[in-house]
Structures are given as C-alpha cells and as structure tokens.
Symmetry: C2
DNA sequence: AATTACATTGACCACAGTAGTCAATTTCAA
DNA sequence: TTGAAATTGACTACTGTGGTCAATGTAATT
C-alpha cells in the first residue's frame, strides 16, 4: 500500500509528510485542508489523491507512519541495561529531538491524535493507540532501579515529578523551536540548549531524590 | 459598550459566554463558527450580532471579560501576607477551579489566545497580554519567603519544579473534567480530588525543598 | 386600546473554501 | 518512437461562512 508514494525521492516524500503533519497538528481532522497541504508541499492536488486516495487514508497513513517510527526508535535506541531513570529520560529526549529534526511537527501531530474526536477516524486511531504506542512507551522504562532513590521516598510521586519537569522544559522550548523550524542551524542550537537545560534540572532533582 | 448584552438575565448571558468560550477554545479564531455558537447557546443569529456587531468584537469582548475577571479574582483573593509558596499555589488553584465552575472553558480559551495568530485579532490581543495578565500573575507571587527553602538550594529550579508539578496535576484532571462538564456533581467532586491530590504532592515537595 | 421602542427571530445572501475528479500534459525508460 | 506511468490544475458539486434585514414578539407608556 502507498507503494508509489514510498518509491518517491526521499526529500519529496518528506516534504509531503511534513506539510501534512503540520496541517493536521494545527487543525483537527475535519478542518484540516488538503488544499493547504498540497500548496505547502508544492505538489498538485491530483498527485496527493493518486498516492493516498482520500484525506482519511492520508491521515491514517500518517498515524501509522509516525507511531511506527517512534516506537521503533524507542525499541532500537533505548538501553534497557541503564538503570538510572534520569539517563533513561535523557535517552528518550534524544530520540525525540532527533526525530523532530526530520519531522518538526511529529509530536504535535501525535498529541493532536489523542484529542481527535472526528467520527470518521476516531475508531481506527483507538485501535492503534491501545496497542503500539503505550507498549513502546512503557517498555522504555523497563528495568529502572528504584533502589537508587532515597529511602522512604514516595517513588510514584518522584517519578511523576521527573516526568513533569521534563515536560516543563520541553514546553519552555516548544514555542521558540516552532518559531525557527526554517532555520536549521538555530533549530539545532535550541535543541542543544534544551538538552543542556534538562541535564541541569536532572542534576538538581538527583540531589533531592537519590541517596 | 455591550450594554444590551450585559443587561441580560444572568443565566442567559452565561449560556452565551460559555458557548462562545467553548467554540473559541476548541477552534482558533478563523475556524471558530458563530453558527455553532448561536446553536449551542440556543439563541438566534441576529441577536448575537445585535449584541456584539461582529465575530471580532465578540472575540475581543470575551478576551477582555475573561482576563478581567481572572486578574480581579487574583487581586481580590490572593493573601499577600502568606509567605509559603505552596499555600500561595493552593490559593491560585482555588481561584481557578472556582472560576471554572462557572466558565468551564475559561482557561482553555485563555491558553488558546496565547497561540492565536490570526492577523485580524493578534495585535489587539498583544496589547492586553503585555499589561493586565502578566502583572496580575506576577503579583500573585509577591512576598514569597524564600528563606523557607533549604540552604544552598537552587531557588529558581525549585520554583519551576513546583510550577510544573502543579501543571502536571492539572493536566491529569483536565481530560476527565472536560468529559463531565454537564454533570455538576461529578465535576465538583473531580475538582475536590484534584485539590486533594495537589496537597499530597505539595507535602511531598515540601519535605524535599523546605528546611 | 393605541402607540412606541426595543428584543428577537431565522430565512436569506454573496462568497469562500471544501474533498475529490479527470482530461490533458509531461516524463522517461524501453 | 512508443507506451505507460507520473503529474498537473482547472473544474465540480457542495457545505458552511459571517453578516443582514424584514418581520414578528414583547412590554411598558400614554
């Protein structure tokens, strides 16, 4: 399926994927416009429908594609021998930003799919959601050594805190990253800064939470 | 301005405000539909335009209205004599959930205005943004006693962490709250749970961050 | 009862944008 | 040169848009 599309030259294929991801991450399914997608991807209307047949197929293709590359990246690149939860989080962050270098709107798109309510696609999203994504993300935290934490510490609250601090730093950079998606150099520099800042906060949390 | 609207019976006025806030919090300005607003508020198209004149006026009225009631609530209800940052956060949370009981989509709407890019309204939003809102929110943290924190603690990181944990708990309840906006009893119960859970996490953070 | 002034309705309008189609053209390997 | 596949973009039927306005309802005043 989608063979003609997959045989395309890589840069053209990515331009189409990125234009579509961006459109579906800004608008929900019903209001997203295939006209804007072809205009931003600089292709004709006809060829998009030649590749995907319908807006619905395009959307579901994107969902399949993004969940697959994300979960495969997690499976391939997470080092399950690493018992330190902070280092695990850094691995996950690294995987995410590397993917974002290629597909800027990838995680905005996935986030949007969680809130998608359009009856035309909702059911088929849930099918995937339940299986691939949760498993991959859960697996990314397998084998964490909780004995590294201070004694008598509420582990659940500690882990939630680490998660929320990670989210907070990401949010802090999101806006600036979005504003510079077209300047590769600046974009990469911001990503470096974000990773660096995360390290500092992790060090801070480590002194609080670890023995 | 908007006199006729403000003289309306309170329940009718609130129905219109809530329908509009919901529409503008789900869609951005350009794709939000006045047809859906009048349909959800159970009023005629004509009367909405009699009250507000245009979609743009309606939107800016809502922005003015919500920022005003929020900043006034902060000014009126925050106890600046309270030096404990956790208690201050709890005060802010209380103010927010009380407002949400009346206007469910209030903070979703305000959040959306930050990301609004439509040229038709962007300039006039920034005008407000710079002044009212930031000041009121900054004032809510005036007079915090940082000597309550452990010695040698990175205060900025500590405060960020508290903020992000607060955000995290809020997010955790957001979805469920949205799913039950029409069941007042359950809605209020969820709010109680959320405040209770925040207390627990604040206690957890206190043992880590305070002397 | 008649008058007046305002509140409210909803059918209606011109228009913009939609998903999808398809005859015509281009591309390119055989 | 041929033929098949890739690609174009004008086109269609249609849906939904912000906004209007003649008509009607409402209620207080004379």
């Amino acid at each position: 399926m989608y063979q003609a599309f997959m045989n395309l030259a890589e840069d053209k294929r990515q331009a189409i994927i990125n234009a579509a991801l961006k459109e579906f991450s800004i608008n929900h399914y019903a209001t997203a416009s295939t006209n804007r997608i072809v205009s931003n991807a600089r292709i004709s209307k006809g060829i998009l429908y030649h590749y995907f047949g319908s807006k619905k197929n395009l959307y579901l293709f994107l969902y399949d594609y993004t969940t697959t590359i994300f979960s495969e990246a997690l499976n391939r690149q997470i080092d399950l021998a690493e018992p330190d939860i902070f280092k695990r989080y850094q691995q996950i962050m690294k995987i995410k930003v590397d993917l974002m270098k290629q597909y800027h709107a990838l995680f905005d798109f996935l986030k949007k799919t969680f809130a998608e309510t359009s009856s035309e696609v909702r059911d088929e999203l849930n099918h995937y959601n339940a299986t691939i994504q949760k498993n991959a993300y859960a697996k990314a935290f397998e084998g964490i050594d909780i004995s590294l934490f201070r004694e008598n510490l509420d582990i659940k609250k500690a882990i939630d805190t680490i998660q929320w601090v990670t989210d907070g730093i990401s949010h802090r950079y999101e806006e600036r990253l979005k504003a510079h998606v077209d300047n590769q150099e600046l974009f990469n520099e911001l990503i470096e800064q974000c990773m660096e800042e995360a390290s500092e906060y992790f060090l801070f949390l480590k002194t609080l939470l670890y023995q």
